[in-house]
């Protein structure tokens, strides 16, 4: 039996093409030593998500998952089927309105879903207002050419250095295209893709930036039809973003 040790790392990160993956899977079904080795590798691979910046899912997602699962349960009532597991206080806090609605069953699930969605949007709005209030620096980027009338303000909050752009009146773009936010180094040589997103047709749209903005000197927004290492699409808005203010002399 020929072992597959050389393939196990790529297998664990899902980087083997289909046929080769199937071959390794078949071997693993019969080989305990390769399985043991894969288990050890998988422990490291399973830790890789811990390197990802934290991100809050929309509150409607929980409701959506539970609603779909509920439809899977034959004859399930519209309220949660059981309380065999203890509910954490924080769940109650998060559930809030939802828990009350489910207990009463007077509110149908669609209504509850809409209420949770609205609550989630309100939470985002409240968070954005709080972040804007605590922002130490901001730069406005006005839309250019066909994108005039749209714009976005890049905010950097003082406490955490967290950055985001609050766009307004974003123009619709082709379904296959995306707005891309770039940060540009002082020498203009490096363009770092900081965010890629589709407009959601609301008047205001918040886009979080996964980079330390203060390390860059310009922010630009392009419309791209493919993900590239450098911008290829039209620059539709941009602004210089200055260095942090100098500390006063002692």
């Amino acid at each position: 039996m020929s072992h597959v040790i050389d393939e196990l790392e790529l297998y664990a990160v899902d980087a083997l093409p289909g046929a080769e993956r199937d071959r390794v899977t078949a071997h693993l079904a019969e080989c305990g030593s390769c399985r043991d080795e894969l288990t050890a590798i998988a422990r490291v691979v399973d830790a890789l998500p811990d390197t990802v910046p934290d991100r809050e899912p929309p509150s409607r997602l929980r409701t959506r998952i539970l609603a779909t699962a509920r439809s899977d349960v034959p004859g399930a009532p519209p309220s949660p089927a059981g309380t065999r597991l203890r509910w954490r206080p924080s769940w109650i806090a998060i559930g809030g309105l939802a828990a009350a609605g489910l207990a009463l069953t007077a509110v149908d699930f669609g209504t509850l879903d809409r209420l949770e969605t609205a609550t989630g949007e309100l939470n985002v709005l409240e968070r954005t207002i709080a972040d804007v209030s605590s922002a130490e620096r901001s730069w406005y980027m006005g839309g250019k050419g066909d994108y005039a009338g749209s714009g976005g303000t890049l905010f950097v909050t003082g406490k955490t250095g967290r950055a985001f752009v609050l766009f307004h009146d974003l123009k619709p773009i082709q379904p296959t295209a995306r707005y891309t936010v770039w940060l540009v180094t002082t020498d203009g040589q490096r363009w770092i893709r900081a965010a890629t997103f589709a407009p959601d047709s609301r008047q205001y749209q918040r886009v979080d930036i996964e980079a330390q903005v203060v390390a860059y000197r310009r922010c630009a927004v392009t419309v791209e039809t493919a993900a590239t290492e450098r911008p290829t699409g039209l620059v539709v808005m941009e602004s210089n973003i200055g260095p942090p203010p100098a500390s006063p002399a002692p």
């Binding site: 050389d6 899902d14 998500p49 910046p53 899912p57 929980r62 899977d72 059981g82 206080p89 039809t225």
Partner: protein
């Protein structure tokens, strides 16, 4: 007032297999956030990430009776479903494959509870283990795991033979493994869980 003790993951999975919806809610409350962060990192957009997490938890809901502890813990099992689905979608719309992690600079999260602070420390250890790798090894791991590139694509975009891709991946993950084991050993030495 202290929080009541949480049921262990295996107990949650057993309840899930018994079609207990509150178990699914419990599982989501534990791993929904990191699952969403992972899917978002891979896909680069929230709508797709939301769909991936939805499908992954439904897959866990339907597949819970088939879960086997000896094949890995619940967290790894669930996140591997998220990862597999996100990469699958990414490969089908290759035009928007995310860039390497250059833009996603790691940033410590706000620690507003003691539990969160401990988790952040653990996460910081993993981040340190990854960032301590030589750039070529780190990039190979990131492009494969977060970028969804296959071994042949990695060989092409990095301009190195396939054997080098395999070697960088193997050595990089081995170094991370040793670093994480050392971290776990020193934590145990300090009497931490």
């Amino acid at each position: 007032m202290s929080e009541p003790a949480q049921p262990p993951d295996e107990q949650v999975i057993a309840a899930l297999a018994a079609r207990d919806l509150s178990a699914l809610a419990a599982l989501y409350d534990r791993y929904g956030r990191i699952g969403y962060a992972l899917a978002y990192r891979i896909l680069g957009e929230s709508e797709g990430a939301e769909d991936v997490v939805h499908d992954a938890f439904l897959s866990a809901w339907r597949g819970a009776p088939g879960y086997r502890r000896e094949r890995g813990n619940v967290r790894g099992w669930l996140l591997s479903i998220v990862h597999h689905r996100a990469v699958d979608i990414l490969r089908r719309k290759t035009a928007f494959r995310p860039a390497p992690l250059e833009a996603a600079e790691d940033r410590p999260d706000d620690a507003d509870t003691a539990g969160e602070a401990v988790r952040n420390l653990e996460r910081a250890g993993v981040r340190e283990a990854l960032t301590a790798l030589p750039a070529a090894q780190r990039k190979t791991i990131e492009l494969a795991y977060f970028g969804g590139y296959t071994q042949v694509e990695l060989s092409e975009i990095m301009g190195v033979p396939l054997g080098t891709v395999k070697g960088r991946m193997r050595i990089g993950l081995q170094k991370m493994r040793r670093a994480l084991e050392a971290d776990a050993g020193s934590a145990a030495g300090r009497g931490e869980p």
